[in-house]
Symmetry: C2
Subunit: 664 residues, 2 copies
């Protein structure tokens, strides 16, 4: 189902319902670009640490726009033994919702745009009819704006009701506006004198002029109230007095917009009841405007609050973009990112990581989404039984619609089902259907595939990352004319090597034997054109340089700049923490304890299918958006988790068979 700005509100409940009833969700994003870095090889070096990779992606990928979001919900029908699928393809665009709303700038990368254009991507749909969104901070600011406006206008929270104390001093009207304001005041005088008309529409005028009108009317009301009369405004005062005396609760002033987008002020005579009705109407309208502005973020909130298992393929960038765009700017360091992620997506599963891990690794050659989907239709796998829900269009995997986010989410879900079911064949007795709540798939939770990193298969969201030794790795610097072949030649004596470019003049070279490392370093001692050091030396020197730099005056400046930026970010971070505490603390901390790979490795017993089935717990039964509900669910989740903990051996029971290895 295609969801755009014009049908978003009508279909939002359908989306909520689909999330609520689902066994698991699959997501995918399409972006306006991938990397604004100097080169792909620099962005994805084979020996990046997870922290380095996070920093690179944060720096070079977050200015792009996630402009299509695919969500596919899967619900298992036990009677029919098949999944019922609902697919949503959302078009996203940060359309400014009013004059003071954020005017988002985003970057487009020509190659990505060209790639999507060749896939038939509809940019007009994005830009003309994309659903807007706000992150949490923007939502908070907008809410504050409304609150502030409301509190500025005193009395029963009335925003536009002219009442005492609204302005504390007389308005200074610029010379060139005096004539205009005088004319307006005269008009209002006539209107108030005259009993026939209930409301008066002023001519459209500029924002500044409207402000002057509001201020003038407010001040005149004040002056009237405290009984002060100033020579200069005697005549106008008389009238306002007449008006306010006839309508003791004052006059109602509001700004409306014409069809031509011109703004004008309407002044009405109102009694108390009418005034309240209008204010309530206005507040309801404001709430709706706020909801409209939050837009697509409401879907992401629903996904987050559902606590359901969220599947993606090679999903690190999808997760980073989703958080960055709809929650908060990404935090400064990786550990904070993990914290925020555990709040927004308490359970993630990356099908690329799953397919690259035992027992799949040996039987799956190509883990790209399209190839994986094809492979998983063949023995020893079986194509999953999945049908579109009534009223939802079905995708045909024979006619590929790859790189439409909804379709990609759909086949990601198919891949997950096939692989999960395959795990059932290892049980005794074997089982055809393995549910999304099965213990069998827990070893794959919250580990995101790390592209092109040689010795760290995944980013571990639930604890510290793997730290491979890298004692067979050399860091080499050389003239910028050098090519890969020059490095092969330099190391030709050492047999098979692997080269990972860092930049134009340096690369990591991994040898097949750690013993060769020292030999290589020694033989290079007197080389002039190039320099070789061990990985450990390189890391040490890098660290030292960092320390030394900090002492330089020029860097104290940078440091200040960094701190300043950090300070600016603090609200977001604490914001996300706040969110976390309120809804998912239980999930995230307990998650850390019960699902860390270390615990997995201590597991020893094979588990029986019966146990697994019993442990399938429906701890994700609703997806309401509001925080109180989220809180409730978090508590529920916590409770269930606690109940699981005593069954210690079971928690890690599946790991002997399907453990996610530290390296491969």
């Amino acid at each position: 189902m295609e969801v755009i700005r014009s049908n978003f509100k009508d279909n939002l409940n359908k989306v909520y319902e689909a999330i609520e009833e689902a066994d698991f969700l699959a997501i995918d994003g399409e972006f306006s670009g991938i990397s604004d870095g100097p080169s792909v090889s620099a962005l994805t070096n084979g020996f990046d640490t997870p922290e380095e990779r996070y920093q690179k992606l944060k720096k070079h990928s977050m200015d792009f726009l996630l402009f299509q979001f695919g969500l596919c919900t899967f619900k298992y029908d036990h009677a029919e033994e098949k999944y019922i699928m609902k697919s949503f393809n959302f078009y996203i665009f940060p359309k400014p919702f009013n004059r003071s709303s954020p005017d988002v700038k985003f970057v487009c990368q020509s190659s990505s745009i060209d790639f999507l254009a060749n896939q038939g991507f509809d940019f007009n749909k994005v830009f003309r009819n994309g659903i807007p969104y706000l992150n949490q901070e923007e939502e908070r600011q907008l809410r504050e704006q409304y609150d502030e406006k409301r509190s500025q206008a005193n009395g029963a929270g009335s925003l536009s009701y002219i009442s005492p104390n609204a302005t504390k001093c007389p308005v200074t009207i610029p010379e060139d506006q005096k004539k205009f304001i005088d004319k307006v005041v005269e008009q209002i005088e006539d209107f108030l004198k005259n009993e026939e008309n209930e409301s008066l529409e002023l001519e459209p005028c500029t924002g500044f002029q409207r402000k002057l009108i509001y201020q003038t009317l407010s001040w005149k009301a004040v002056v009237l109230y405290i009984g002060v009369r100033k020579e200069s405004c005697e005549s106008s005062l008389e009238i306002i007095k007449a008006g306010t005396m006839r309508y003791p609760k004052g006059i109602h002033v509001e700004t409306l917009e014409s069809d031509k987008k011109e703004r004008y002020i309407v002044i009405s005579k109102v009694n108390e009841e009418e005034r309240k009705r209008r204010e309530q109407q206005k507040q309801a309208k404001e709430q709706e405007e706020l909801n409209d502005a939050v837009g697509f973020s409401r879907v992401v909130h629903a996904i987050a609050n559902s606590g359901k298992l969220v599947i993606g393929h090679n999903m690190l960038l999808d997760v980073m973009h989703t958080i960055h765009q709809f929650y908060c700017p990404l935090p400064d360091d990786l550990s904070e990112f993990k914290e925020v992620t555990s709040c927004v997506f308490p359970r993630l599963l990356d099908t690329k990581l799953m397919a690259s891990t035992q027992p799949f690794k040996e039987i799956i050659n190509n883990t790209s989404l399209a190839e994986l989907e094809k492979r998983l239709k063949e023995v020893p796998f079986s194509p999953p039984k999945v049908e579109s829900a009534e009223g939802f269009p079905s995708y045909d995997t024979a006619s590929e619609q790859l790189h439409e986010a909804g379709y990609d989410a759909y086949i990601t879900g198919l891949c997950f089902i096939s692989m999960a079911n395959f795990l059932g064949s290892f049980l005794s007795p074997p089982k055809n259907h393995v549910s999304a709540r099965s213990k069998l798939i827990e070893p794959f939770f919250n580990k995101l595939f790390l592209m092109r990193v040689m010795d760290i298969p995944y980013l571990n969201l639930e604890g510290p990352d793997l730290q491979p030794k890298r004692d067979h790795v050399l860091h080499v610097t050389f003239p910028k004319e050098w090519k890969t072949s020059d490095l092969y030649q330099l190391f030709s004596a050492f047999g098979n090597i692997q080269v990972s470019w860092i930049d134009d003049t340096s690369a990591f070279v991994s040898l097949s034997q750690p013993e060769q490392v020292q030999i290589a370093v020694n033989t290079s001692r007197y080389a002039e054109s190039y320099r070789i050091q061990t990985y450990a030396e390189y890391v040490e020197k890098k660290h030292e340089e960092k320390q030394a730099k900090r002492k330089c005056t020029e860097d104290s400046w940078k440091e200040m700049e960094r701190k300043r930026l950090k300070t600016q970010c603090t609200p977001y971070v604490s914001q996300s923490r706040y969110y976390c505490v309120n809804s998912f603390t239980g999930t995230s901390t307990l998650g850390k304890r019960s699902m860390s790979p270390i615990q997995e490795e201590t597991g020893s017993d094979d588990m029986e299918e019966g146990d697994v089935q019993d442990l399938e717990c429906d701890h994700t039964d609703s997806c309401a958006e509001s925080l109180p509900d989220g809180k409730k669910r978090a508590k529920k989740f916590k409770k269930i988790k606690k109940e699981q903990v005593p069954a210690g051996s079971l928690t890690s029971s599946s790991t002997e068979i399907f453990e996610v290895p530290e390296t491969w």
Copy 2:
């Protein structure tokens, strides 16, 4: 006429022809955004100096994409007394043309995109079918790439011909590739032994593998040539020897791409004649590829080389973007920008500036393009007689298509014609038609409207800018809570004031009387919450701060950075200078002398229509692209200019009537 990638080549000659025959050209651009600055008020302060404004626009506007370019050519038909118009609406997109081409990143501003979306702008047409382009540096690099490839392969400039000296040392083949390369060599052996087949297609493989194949074949040829035999490759050598002996001029190796975008190597046996034919074919293909890649820039080159009068409405950003995108990154400072501009667009006229100047200023209230076009249909103006050329669609000004670049260029042209003709009414006898070559319009040449600058009406491209006194201006700093009304109040004693915000905590305030300035400064001496200084003091302090900063160590670092960046830019600058010297030096330097406002002011005599007519010179008779032609034209232009110079009084003769004032 809509011009997109697919019909660009077919219509390019039509475009050239239209430019060549035109009396003047009108242009307009649509961008993916306007400003990524903090706020519009900060970007366009009312007291910016031209240098400041240039720096701001350069910094905050050049990352957007000019993605629609409107060109409208106008040719006067003397017999029919009407203009014949040809309108082109080009869609522009930097589609990467191959794997090593620049992958342009550009910024989109949501509000601008939303605005264009509401106007029905077709983003799919831009992204799916936009015409690519290269700036001059990119074009040079691409040309070099082709040349390098060609020179790498020796012998009659053959790129892919395997010949002696191609590789100087044996190829080191990585362990994991040895099997693959051995297999390929075996295949080639069989092919060369066998007389039946004329060519051999290898399996598709990776770029690295292709490189290894090329290197292996080259080196084997070298080894054969210099008669060295190495043990390790004895067997393969025999075969290559056999092959090269049978085909003494070698074998032809080239990489082709399949329908599936997979690249594979084809090896053919060729004789000398066939080889030459293939190489010529290849070179012709390369030249065509190069032309395709230069793409839309060829149109801009044609406009530049034509030397024709180019009209735009509020065209500073259009000019900056056009130069930045299709020529070279904008130079560091304004004077260099003026120099480059005089090369690319030797004669510009801004209709917004013209309409804001005497004799139009008094009778035109609103100079926005749409309003101006309407106004110029009414007395004392007359709607111009303009018809579309045969085969070109006509625009209907009744059903506005504003913000389509082609349409905007069209009505800009209409505005110019109406205003130019109006100038004819001041002549005796009055004249209905004033041509684009008339002396009457020269006072408006090369002065670009400066938006929202209070006292400097235009950027003067032909010399130093106006330097208004600003002795009635104050610089005020204050708490960030202050609003415009607070400033009005603070200065309420001084009558009418104007406020120009700089940022959250400072603004320029201009008083109506310079005498009040010192009073304001004096009375504020002991104020705590705000600070007032004169404009002169502010400029002085800013200058001092700049100097002081330079002494700081932290700034010496910045200075280094600045210098480094400057060095990086140098090639572009010298590039543009080079271009300049080759094609338009005459125009730009002479232009400075003959058209500066100072000279204009010294003009004294009214001129007679006859003189003007005689002076209309057709110095812009062709628009060929190549530099030699441009050179020729530049010389011609120079000659004509020189002939004009002796008629000194005439050069400035129209200025008494229509002089462009220094302030208004």
